[in-house]
């Protein structure tokens, strides 16, 4: 009972509000980072595992840094400090809190030292790559579905509308691009369908290709 009481007293002494504030501010910052980094597809990017890990990493880092600062006694228990830690996380992480110093007698160049900023940057890079690969995988799967379910003529019509209509794409090379794809004698129909589906996905967006796939699903089998 004494141990439980001690734990309960310790838990009650933690200013949870400050940690929630720091973590929450850091979470908002991380969400805005994902949205701006993956601008073409922010919602899909936020739904990936990489994004979940990245958001959790940011919250954990904000909580850890606030705890470190409080344990060093450098800051008081002010909500403004907690907010500043959450919002200023990217800058604070780069202030190099050393978590593992070089072994005594080892020169600094031996690279034994592991810094918080390096760990954070590496983990952040890992998460970004995961998001990137997940989004690419989703696009590939959608194109595969389009190749299976959509007719070449349907894909051609939509791609022409996008590339030659001048509403979405205005680049001069766009106008003859569909003809270039269709005119390739050595390409089989599947290859042409793949390129046209990628064109619709890239210039019309997920919504457009998804809409085409839904309509195709409703069609009775030929």
């Amino acid at each position: 009972m004494t141990a439980l009481n001690a734990i309960a007293t310790w838990l009650a002494s933690i200013p949870w509000g400050l940690y929630i504030l720091a973590g929450g501010a850091s979470l908002i910052l991380a969400v805005s980072e994902v949205v701006s980094s993956f601008e073409p597809d922010p919602v899909r990017a936020l739904r990936t595992w990489g994004s979940t890990i990245l958001l959790l990493l940011n919250v954990a880092m904000a909580v850890l840094i606030l705890a470190l600062m409080r344990s060093f006694g450098t800051v008081g228990d002010s909500p403004w400090v907690a907010l500043a830690v959450g919002l200023g996380l990217p800058t604070l992480v780069r202030t190099r809190f050393t978590v593992m110093k070089p072994l005594p007698g080892m020169p600094a160049s031996e690279g034994v030292e592991i810094r918080l900023d390096e760990l954070y940057t590496r983990l952040q890079g890992f998460c970004r790559r995961r998001i990137d690969v997940a989004l690419a995988g989703q696009r590939v799967r959608m194109v595969e579905q389009a190749m299976d379910r959509l007719e070449l003529e349907e894909l051609e019509r939509k791609a022409r509308l996008l590339l030659e209509g001048g509403l979405v794409v205005t680049a001069s090379q766009a106008s003859g691009y569909v003809d270039r794809i269709l005119g390739q004698q050595e390409y089989d129909e599947e290859r042409k369908r793949m390129l046209l589906a990628f064109a619709i996905l890239n210039y019309g967006g997920h919504g457009m290709l998804e809409g085409m796939l839904k309509t195709a699903k409703a069609k009775p089998p030929a």
């Binding site: 993956f38 073409p40 790559r129 998001i131 990137d132 690969v133 989004l135 690419a136 995988g137 696009r139 590939v140 799967r141 194109v143 595969e144 190749m147 680049a171 090379q173 766009a174 691009y177 270039r180 794809i181 390739q184 793949m194 390129l195 990628f198 064109a199 890239n202």
Partner: protein, 95 residues
Amino acid sequence: MEESWATLRELEDNLSDEEKAILEVLGQVGASTPAELAVRTFSLPEEINKPLLSLKEKQLIDISQVKGRLGGDLVTLNQRGLQMRQRLRLGRRVK
């Protein structure tokens, strides 16, 4: 490690227009298959093989494998490629 300004400048001078276009697309879209890069640059897939290999040799991109029916290569910008893309964008803004 950050590349020196002189090294990146020398590398930039050796980039073709196609290579610069691919770096820009990778920066905008993220990881892409060669077919997607071809569509994004209004090229045919076989036309971008050479610039892709050249970018790989220049250590600006990484090429990994992707599963699925369209399985094959997945192209991503590496740290050096990101630096180069930022440099190219900055250059365009200055001009």
